[in-house]
Amino acid sequence: MAVGSPSIPPGKVNIPFYRDTRIIAVIVQIVFAFLVAVGIWYLYSNMMNGLRQANLLPTFSFLSVPAGFPIAESVIEYNPSMTYGRAFVVGILNTVRVAVIGIILATLLGLILGIARLSDNWLLRNVALVYVEIVRNIPLLLQLIFWFSLTRLFPRIQESIDVGGLIFLHNRGVTMAWPQVGNDFDTWMLWVYGGIVVGGIFYVVRRIQFIRRDRPGVALPYAFLIALGIALLGFLVTYLMNGVWPISLSVPVLQRFNFEGGITITNSFAALLIGLVIYTAVFIGEIVRSGILAVSKGQREAARALGLTPGQTMRLVILPQALRVIVPPLTSQYLNLTKNSSLAIAIAYPDLFYVANTINNQTGQAIPVILMLMASYLSVSLLTSLFMNWYNRRIQLVER
């Protein structure tokens, strides 16, 4: 042990400063930062010169000017006399609308696909495989344009295709039956709140009991059932008292030129949603499949040996473990779906990108519009990742 490398007392060796890695590191970084700054300054000054000559200096003042263009569909109230700022918000909300509904539907379809790919039924397994291989090798934009063109092949509204009397397909979109709030809705909501309170109390009491007895137990599902039961009871009681359901189904009825009742979604929205869901579900399906395969075979065999049914094995043993593998890549698929919704411009759905593009064409304010556009997409992406990371942390294995 005594014979080691001759120890050099620190600070005693004469290393010239240009060979000292600590100093080199600092110099390299300064040079790099300088170069980046010069590059940005060069581009920026070019841009400002050009814009000054074109008399288009960037400003956000256009946001309070009336937009003057109509938007075909909107979650909030909008008309052309409202401002550009409002139009932009309409675009954001339209993107969020298609993304949220799309994510939910794509997850459901993806889950079904992933499980179907692992089915012991040869036919089902291979049908799912064919679906996956067809859809994922064709550009999404082509698929969207295909669905959009298809919805426009539907007959005129007077000759709508009737699906079970609840859904009507026509060349302006899809009209379908939709729940409608009745007069006694508020009365019924009292029952719902009551149910939530009772369920909550039950949950807290049970939890305290569990902690006292130092035993694990299940409380949340029962609390949920209690709340649901009270709400359903209230539903029935309200009906019996007034003879009207608090929520009823509004069935569309064809009038002379239009449908009365139900809701109508435009064919742009329908095509975008169908396209995004069918495309993203394929990728989600593959993630679900590999997640399930990642759970070791012994787990399934052990669960079966303990006498759990195949359904219980899936629900209680396989899926909770598979979720840990599934969630991180699933997050990036959700982000992809949100970003892909920008292709809506090709089929005239007024999403964020569509509205931003229109604003830019009308005002010529490319810089502010691009900044707002990027900021919006980045915040949507960031919010989604934050939520999914929070969820991911919750389901990760807690190790001692």
Binding site: F32, V36, N121, W122, P139, L141, L142, Y377
Partner: protein, 410 residues
Amino acid sequence: MATEVSRPSSRRAPRQQIGLIEWLRKNLFSTWYNVIITLVLLYVIFQAVTSFVSWMITAPGWPAAFTNIKLLLTWTYPVEHLWRPQAVTGLVFLLLGLSSGVWGGIVRMVTFGAAAISAGLGVVAFTFPDLPGQTSLPGWLFLFLCAGLLIGSDQLALRLRDRIRWPLIIAWLLSYPAAIVILRGGFGLPVVETKLWGGLMLTLLLAISGIVLSFPLGVLLALGRRSTLPVIRMFCVLYIELIRGVPLVTVLFMGALLLPLFLPGGESIDALVRAIVAITLFSAAYLAENVRGGLQSIPKGQIEAARALGLNVFQTTLLITLPQALRAVVPVLVGQFIALFKDTSLVVIIGLVDLLGAAQNIVGQPQWLGTPGGVWRETFLVIAAIYWVFSFTMSRISKRIEDQIARSRH
């Protein structure tokens, strides 16, 4: 010492082969719900296939795609210059064939696949000689020549082997600029303006440009993101996350709008160049993340060993970590290429006419207005098939490379 071993009375091995009935029972009708699923699926498949086939036979719109093959492949590229895309195809096939002879393996498989497809298409083109868009070199002859070129150069390279290894690598590196010069002109060749380019040619060009040009940038970004210098690392992280957070359409839109503003005299920048710049910047961020994955998979001992041998940081990166990392990410890069190949269709939104754009234009041609329902279904089906064949083939290749790498590790 001979010991008596009592042998169990021999029995025949259990039958491995199962009969058709047994197979059906096991795979289609094992439980009551599988019976239902199978029957329902059989009914749905039967309905779908019969109605699809009967539609395909009666559909009136097929001529739209087949009489416009020239537009789909090269859009408005002048007919008298069509020998140039053909020459580029020939050049690539020559290099591919030579590489196949030198390296064999998967390259060989790709080469023979390409030769088979060329020959097959050649037979089709020969059978239907009336297809329009013929060049001075008939399409069928060109396709047969391609097949011959692939096989011939493969055989040639088998003899030369090691002598042409390095020249071939250099030739591959030079092939991209050479292809651009042949297509665009200059150096004595008449110039074909890029606004005349389009169709499948443009789709392939954009996807290849996206990968080739973004490669150096992506590798630098990946190295920068793993750098110990905080300023460089933060810059790279910021760039990568910013680009990955926004859709490609936005980046294309920025390329189209901002690029002319950023550079003096930028108004004259070609629309195609703007698109290529945008796709390169976009693709670099994704490539960087893929390469970073490869870099992370290199055990730390490799770097420590290299440093112990006296290699400096640059030597370690260039000679030890990067080669291993890049080899490990080849399948992922093929995957990225497939994604890019599909994503290039978005250039339609900024007004370029790629394969999808050409199809949209054909669908809108006035002579098809009388066709009931339009010709879009047939035309889109044809280009969907083209996209599908390309990206499915590439995904199979990627799968094979992946398997090969996995095998070589064990």
